[in-house]
Symmetry: C2
Subunit: 369 residues, 2 copies
């Protein structure tokens, strides 16, 4: 067996798969934000050469996949399975986006937690020996999301301060199964054997090496505190983020001290403060370790994005452009990446249903070659 | 390793997981059809005690899960991961349906192929040792689907003869990982060792045994012949069904002779004839082995269902109520189950996009205890 079942919801991989490349494609507002210079590709009119917002989102997904493949010099037909999703009804951004790649695919929906769901399944399938390469991709687009969930852009509708700004972006991650000789001597963070180092170095020319491994996952369950305000998704998702973070601590025996960063997807300013309170209620204090992708991707002072960024693309492009490079360099040794999703549709909202949340935890570690 | 990678898209499990129980919940029209007496639960007004079609669909999913758990005498908190999906935007039937079970979950979208996607991932995770029990569930509802994709029911809109009738139903499948001692001596269909038989018999009292195992999967890719008629989904999905069936033959070295039945999800009468032609073009003839769930669940003569049944629930309830019992009894030794999905939304349709298809293949075999 290539993995250890931990507690109620977690897995620890004994020979953890690598993220060998990550790519980010983002829109114009994101390009003007704090991470703007880190994205692999941005576009001035947010249409990426397409005629509609939906086609633009599909184009971003395809470009992100092609970039991730190109960085690692891996061809699309070498990818065993693709795991992808987006926010649109019936996941059409993904269907239309990845179609040209012709990779056997699993369509996913976990709202803004989908990047975590895709990375979890890609890591699990690679660790299980179901193929050498897996691809995970997610996206969101401000234009298509406003059309899907809110008001026509031409209305210039006023937004409450608790509302998020959907990120225009797509992140793709190429996961490679570890070879038996790459198994570290002990935990990641300790030097591997000489053989492992040599095996890894021999791979440099093909771009297949990386210091970033998915060492474990904590799969989330649906958490519903009964909140119904779809314009305050931070509050709706914070309980799910707390549940997954605390469950990761319980399952693995770790605390916030064992992570350099605990990174949520898009709780924003409102959700962050609720998360801190809820986690404190469980006996942990993550304030010094927490970072939220939705608060990182935009500048709240100058970009008028209210609670922060959101969408399947928010956590994905922040992970690809900002978080993974820091783990690769060893600046952060172990990160708990926890994208959060609000499970709702215009129909469920109009019928008065609550907005439950879900969050999936991915443990990313810097590992020596 | 607990599996063998076969060809481009397939996996063969060396110690295949079991489907230890399956449950079906269906609506009134389905209750009047040829499989009516086989469903575990049906409801006269299709609302299942709820106020809306969406809530009714969620209720069906929950009831199907509870029934599958009850049949095997397994509790919800023993299930490691749940894989579920439906046709509605942002998968709300699943989110609201399985929430009460509090099982860590992966939300999926593969249109009407989702039951195959869910069973594939449940089987793969069980075979990989990620947990003892996995639950797969999908649903569709005529009322919620018409609202989502077509016209308000009150319009009494006329339907072309190539259109499908969305099945009101939900099927749930409880997958159990095989213990090492349950590994058959050779292939399924041959007697296992005495130890294995004893181990299995010792389990009878807890309802954890079955003769039905998921011995392999063939994951589909998106296939697009450029068709745009969402009222003729059989034609849109037939190329994907052909692609997955033929890929299964190529990957495994089998032909139609090696299967007692090749069962598609919801191609219907139009899609079936196209499938036969396409498969014949690849040098195979599946006419004597083919069965389509959409043609099986309704009586075309008396039920006015045109091309046949469709929806994530169509293949799921037909598999649970009709197909699995035949494999359990050994009437069919090996079945290739291939639910098919049409990847579209009202937005993609209105924007003039084509309707590509996807199909996932699940190999189900009768195995001795």
């Amino acid at each position: 067996m290539n993995q250890i079942i931990k507690g109620k919801q977690s897995l620890i991989f004994t020979n953890p798969p690598y993220i060998i490349s990550a790519a980010s494609v983002a829109g114009s507002k994101e390009a003007e934000g704090p991470l703007g210079k880190l994205f692999d590709m941005t576009n001035e009119d947010d249409l990426f050469g397409a005629q509609t917002w939906e086609e633009a989102e599909s184009t971003m997904q395809k470009e992100a996949c092609v970039l991730a493949l190109g960085k690692a010099r891996v061809k699309a037909d070498e990818i065993r399975y693709l795991f992808g999703g987006d926010l649109l009804r019936q996941g059409i951004a993904t269907s239309m986006g990845v179609e040209a790649l012709q990779i056997p695919m699993f369509g996913l929906f976990g709202a803004c937690s989908t990047s975590g769901e895709a990375l979890a399944l890609a890591g699990m399938c690679a660790a299980a020996g179901y193929g050498k390469y897996m691809l995970a991709v997610t996206s969101s687009h401000f234009g298509s999301a406003e059309k899907e969930f809110r008001f026509p852009l031409g209305y210039a509708n006023q937004r409450p301060l608790s509302a998020h700004w959907t990120v225009t972006g797509s992140g793709a991650f190429l996961v490679r199964a570890a070879e038996p000789e790459e198994r570290p001597g002990g935990k990641c963070g300790q030097a591997g054997s000489a053989e492992a180092a040599n095996a890894a170095e021999g791979d440099v020319s093909t771009g297949h090496i990386s210091h970033v491994r998915i060492t474990g996952v904590t799969i989330g369950k649906i958490v519903d505190y009964g909140l119904k305000d779809s314009q305050n998704m931070g509050a709706c998702m914070a309980p799910a983020a707390m549940d997954t973070i605390v469950q990761n601590f319980i399952d693995t025996g770790r605390t916030e001290q064992d992570y350099d960063r605990i990174i949520t997807g898009d709780l924003g300013y409102v959700g962050q403060s609720i998360l801190f309170d809820l986690v404190r209620g469980k006996g942990f204090d993550i304030r010094k370790k927490h970072l939220d992708c939705g608060m990182t991707i935009f500048d709240q002072e100058t970009q008028d994005t209210h609670a922060g960024g959101s969408g399947c693309g928010c956590a994905a492009v922040t992970l690809a452009s900002f978080v993974i490079p820091k783990i690769e360099k060893g600046e952060w040794q172990r990160v708990l990446f926890v994208p959060t999703g609000a499970l709702m549709s215009t129909v469920s909202f109009n019928e008065g249903a609550s907005v439950p949340g879900i969050a999936h935890g991915i443990v990313l570690e810097h590992c020596p070659l």
